[in-house]
């Protein structure tokens, strides 16, 4: 029995293999993908200088120290906050943190690289051999290495003046380079990997992972080969800054390489760029034109020693990882995996992460009811107004009170939705109960359900008669009359009960 459960039946294995090797878009071809991700480290200061990291839209060349501009006589001083965030990432990726790692200089001339070299970890990265599990795949994606390095400055070409402007705000910002083994097999897996990595980096506070803003960028290696043959020659597509661009670039690249190979031409190893307007890749340089970066151990920074105590301390202070949160949401709150993923994808707002908001709301409340109000009602309203959870003006106590008002029957569900809409439209410090009273939504205030029901039966004699003769559906019409008269304030469930009781009482009489 045990043996059976450990070894999947041949049939299942065959199906898995077919799925792995067969893609109707390119039948007979296997696609091999590896990704290098550059994530800007979410530290206050840069990797080797004390200038602040810059946000979007900051004026250019504001956060620049003489070191960032590579002035003579400046020296790098390693920011330990960046090391700590690298350690968190290494732990989250289940990788082997190296007791000793070091920095190297990678040389090339470019105007966005003031020193003429980038400080990176070429020979001895901070962590090796990690794993990341991604959705819809049984085996984990192997992480080859994680390294710390400097970001470059940003050059912006102005077509009017035909000049390049250099903004040194980004120069020297810490980056985490996360390199996979060539384990990914489809554009969808590549997208799944990047999304999973992004969620993890956000959860542990290592990076805001904003691809549009460039704080998460990917270089993707793609090769194809006939099923059963050795891997083909790979091409590297540089600087993809969006999940859909990654997928589009891979699809284009697979088709391009397939066309070459099908016509008897070889694929040549090269570095390619991606045009996000045409969704095509284009050649940047061939292997022969590849730069010799003249890697040299950095003579200033020496060895980073990571003690077991430091690793242990980092583990103790790790925030919950997304996959652990997901398990907790499905097991503790009995949410479906889909619902858990929705909460996880919401990110954070003024009230902390969406999950933390949910966690607090669930204290002494039914998680499903809370989920429904938070996601279907609150988020639905927000997205209808083109807003996200980050814009949510409701404190967790406000939403909680609203949920409670409905749950205890103090207001009807319909009134609850009306109240929510009103609070969102005019946010204030008033409690939902106060506002419900002002809006005359509180059910027990003045509403006499019995009176209304008697009035309804009197007003609709033929319908009442039909019901008594067994046409149960007609009840809805009478119910509708009551709801209309109460302007939606009556509790429809209660009204239905009362109507049935009154009508049956009549019939019996």
């Amino acid at each position: 029995m045990l043996v059976l459960s450990c070894r999947p039946p041949i049939r299942l294995l065959a199906r898995r293999l077919r799925r792995a090797f067969h893609d109707s878009r390119w039948p007979g071809w296997q696609v091999i993908i590896g990704i290098e991700t550059h994530a800007q480290i979410l530290s206050r200061q840069k990797l080797f200088s004390n200038s602040l990291n810059s946000g979007l839209g900051e004026a250019p060349n504001i956060n620049v120290s003489p070191f960032d501009a590579a002035f003579p006589g400046t020296l790098p001083v390693l920011n330990q906050d960046c090391v700590d965030l690298a350690l968190r990432t290494a732990i989250a990726l289940d990788s082997k943190i190296q007791t000793r790692s070091s920095f190297d200089r990678k040389h090339y001339f470019y105007s966005d690289l003031p020193a003429g070299y980038q400080i990176t970890q070429h020979y001895a990265p901070i962590a090796l051999d990690g794993h990341l599990n991604i959705p819809n795949r049984d085996s984990p994606i192997r992480i080859k290495q994680i390294q710390l390095e400097q970001d470059t400055a940003k050059s912006v070409f102005d077509p009017h003046t035909r000049t390049s402007n250099i903004d040194l705000n980004r120069a020297g910002t810490g980056l985490l380079e996360i390199v996979t083994e060539p384990d990914l097999r489809s554009p969808e897996e590549a997208a799944g990997f990047v999304r999973t990595l992004q969620a993890m980096l956000r959860a542990i506070g290592a990076s805001d992972g904003n691809m549009e803003a460039g704080s998460l960028r990917c270089d993707v290696n793609v090769s194809i080969n006939s099923v059963g043959q050795p891997h083909g020659t790979r091409c590297e597509i540089k600087n993809l800054n969006g999940v859909k661009f990654i997928q589009a670039a891979i699809i284009f690249e697979v088709q391009r390489q397939r066309a070459l190979l099908s016509n008897g031409y070889p694929v040549s190893q090269e570095t390619r760029g991606f045009n996000s307007d045409t969704f095509e890749t284009f050649k940047m340089r061939s292997k022969e034109e590849a730069l010799d970066y003249r890697y040299m151990p950095d003579p200033n920074l020496g060895v980073i020693f990571i003690t077991p105590e430091r690793i242990e301390q980092t583990k103790q202070t790790m925030p919950e990882l997304p996959w652990a949160t997901r398990t907790r949401l499905t097991e503790t709150y009995k949410l479906s995996e889909q619902d858990a993923d929705i909460l996880l994808s919401l990110g954070g707002g003024q009230e902390g992460s969406a999950v933390a908001y949910f966690d607090r709301l669930c204290k002494d409340r039914n998680p499903r009811v809370v989920f429904s109000w938070m996601v279907h009602e609150l988020l639905g309203r927000l997205s209808a107004a083109k807003l996200t959870f980050a814009d949510n003006p409701l404190s967790e106590s406000q939403l909680g009170e609203l949920v409670d008002l409905v749950h205890t029957g103090a207001i009807t569900g319909t009134s609850g939705k009306l109240l929510l809409r009103e609070i969102l439209a005019n946010p204030s410090q008033k409690t939902p109960t106060e506002r419900a009273r002002l809006m005359s939504l509180l059910s027990h205030d003045e509403l006499d359900v019995d009176d209304l029901c008697v009035a309804a039966i009197a007003a609709l004699p033929s319908e009442a008669l039909a019901f008594k003769r067994g046409h149960m559906n007609v009840l809805n019409k009478i119910l509708g009359w009551v709801m209309k008269e109460s302007r939606g304030k009556a509790d429809s469930k209660l009204v239905r009960e009362r109507l049935v009781a009154l009508l049956e009482q009549d019939r019996d009489a």
């Binding site: 040389h107 003429g116 010799d292 200033n300």
Partner: protein, 501 residues
């Protein structure tokens, strides 16, 4: 603001050294007057200190003697400048040097060659100063050595990557200390080769050298290679413990065979030997030692120093600061490589370009293992050689293997240079190999990061013999100790200095 003369300081000169204005070419910039009043309570009150022009100052340009930085002024003061000012020192000005510290003769400078101010007393009486023979002050810190030798300032800061403090100190007849790597902050020192660069101190006497060193010898968080307070204190204590608290009679001096090669001129050999003999009379024990990796040190040094130099020089691109040679009309703006080449070809001197090419080659993927990594291995062997012979070092238990009967030595003494200052007409520095060979005695201590002090030796008694001129030109002896043993090294230096009295 930048003037090539030391006119305003000539009043400091003693009458027997008629050095005047432009004849030495040591100063490239005189400091603006300082507003602060002297404070007798400060340790360096009234001491005027010149700075090699590779030490960053906000109130004067820092050219590094390069066309690339001809008009460059740093936005910050080097830590050493801040420390000197806080101690009451007067910064006299900026001193000439070889471009970016690369050279042994101080002839590779946009400010022109530095002239050695030494003049033999017998010649001084008969030949006017302006007509005397012009000799090199040595390099790369030639301006620092010459300014101190000519009395233009009380002391000077230099740098030392492979001998740039000790060689000019020996040629000019002053004291030159290259401290242990990591003791004096490099923050604000224009880098040549970071793993070797040290700030050096030059002064007429050991006592004054020590006064300056004591001010600068402190941890600086802005320099990632700056040694901690604890490791400094521990190393210094270890050096004195092993040398029975600095009593001359218990001093063990190592005389390394490899530093007395057959190419060493007899007049230098004899003066160093005579000094060693006098120290022995004072009670010191002379121990012949061998440092077998020495012959490989020079090659390893030039591979490593050039590799780091090629990396450090990459920032001088004309894009962010420094010289920029604009594109000729009509050149397409896309020619990025041409833009870099144009500025760097004009802005950098021949010696710097030569070393960039050497270093670039040794870092290429094909050469890296055979050159850079091999040189790093040699560097380790050189360090191990030293560790084996010093009794204060952690490896002293290996002394037995080095044939020292279980007892190592406290310091090594050897000649500082392979020759006395050469005539400027005879050397133009273009013969690279000849100039590089002059570093053979100084680079091992740089590779190992050890303190090395060049002390002028007393004139020999051979005056009146055939080669009189050569006999009177200064000769320096180097005292090398284990890492952090500056106090012991300076104490031995004082014994050597005492021989001249």
């Amino acid at each position: 603001m930048r003037i090539n003369v030391a006119r305003r300081l000539t009043h400091r000169l003693s009458s027997w050294r008629p050095v005047n204005d432009a004849s030495v070419n040591a100063f490239v910039c005189i400091a603006p007057p300082t507003p602060s009043a002297p404070d007798p309570g400060l340790p360096l009150n009234g001491v005027s200190v010149g700075l090699k022009d590779m030490i960053c100052t906000t109130d004067m340009p820092t050219t590094s003697a390069s066309g690339m930085l001809r008009d460059f002024t740093s936005p910050f003061d080097a830590t050493v400048v801040t420390l000197l000012r806080a101690a009451g020192a007067h910064i006299a000005g900026k001193l000439n040097c070889d471009e970016f510290g690369m050279g042994s003769l101080n002839v590779h400078s946009i400010h022109g060659a530095v002239v050695n101010p030494f003049q033999a007393p017998s010649v001084a009486a008969s030949v006017p100063w302006t007509e005397r023979e012009k000799r090199s002050a040595g390099g790369s810190s030639g301006g620092s050595a010459a300014a101190v030798a000519a009395g233009l300032c009380d002391a000077a800061l230099s740098t030392d990557t492979g001998g740039s403090t000790r060689l000019p100190a020996a040629y000019c007849g002053v004291v030159g200390l290259k401290p242990s790597y990591g003791l004096i902050s490099r923050h604000g020192i224009v880098a040549f080769a970071d793993s070797l660069d040290c700030v050096g101190i030059m002064a007429p006497t050991i006592a004054r050298t020590k006064r300056i060193f004591d001010i600068l010898n402190r941890h600086d968080p802005a320099d990632p290679t700056s040694a901690s307070h604890d490791s400094r204190a521990a190393a210094s204590a270890r050096a004195f413990d092993s040398w029975s608290s600095g009593v001359p009679s218990s001093l063990r001096i190592g005389v390394p065979a490899e530093y007395f090669p057959s190419e060493l001129p007899p007049r230098i050999m004899s003066r160093v030997r005579a000094a060693l003999a006098r120290l022995k009379e004072l009670g010191a024990t002379l121990v012949p030692v061998s440092l077998p990796a020495t012959p490989y040190a020079l090659s390893a040094y030039y591979v490593l120093a050039s590799a780091e130099a090629s990396s450090n020089m990459a920032r001088y691109s004309g894009v962010h600061y420094g010289m920029h040679v604009p594109a000729p009309a009509g050149e397409p703006p896309s020619m990025t490589a041409a833009a870099y080449a144009r500025t760097r070809s004009v802005g950098l001197g021949s010696e710097v370009k030569k070393r960039i090419l050497l270093g670039t080659y040794s870092l290429t993927a094909d050469a890296f293992d055979n050159y850079f990594l091999q040189a790093q291995r040699v560097r380790r062997l050189v360090s191990e050689d030293f560790a084996r012979v010093f009794r204060a070092s952690a490896h002293s238990r290996d002394n037995r293997d080095a044939g020292m009967g279980g007892e190592g030595v406290d310091v090594l003494i050897h000649p500082s240079a392979m020759r006395v200052a050469p005539r400027l007409g005879e050397v133009d520095g273009s013969d690279g190999l000849d100039a590089y060979v002059q570093d053979v005695l100084t680079v091992p201590a740089s590779l190992a990061g050890l303190p090395a002090l060049s002390v002028p030796l007393p004139a020999s008694g051979a005056e009146g013999s055939g080669d009189e001129d050569e006999c009177v030109w200064p000769v320096g002896a180097s005292v090398v100790g284990p890492w952090g043993a500056e106090e012991a090294v300076l104490a031995v230096g004082e014994m050597l200095e005492g021989l001249s009295r």
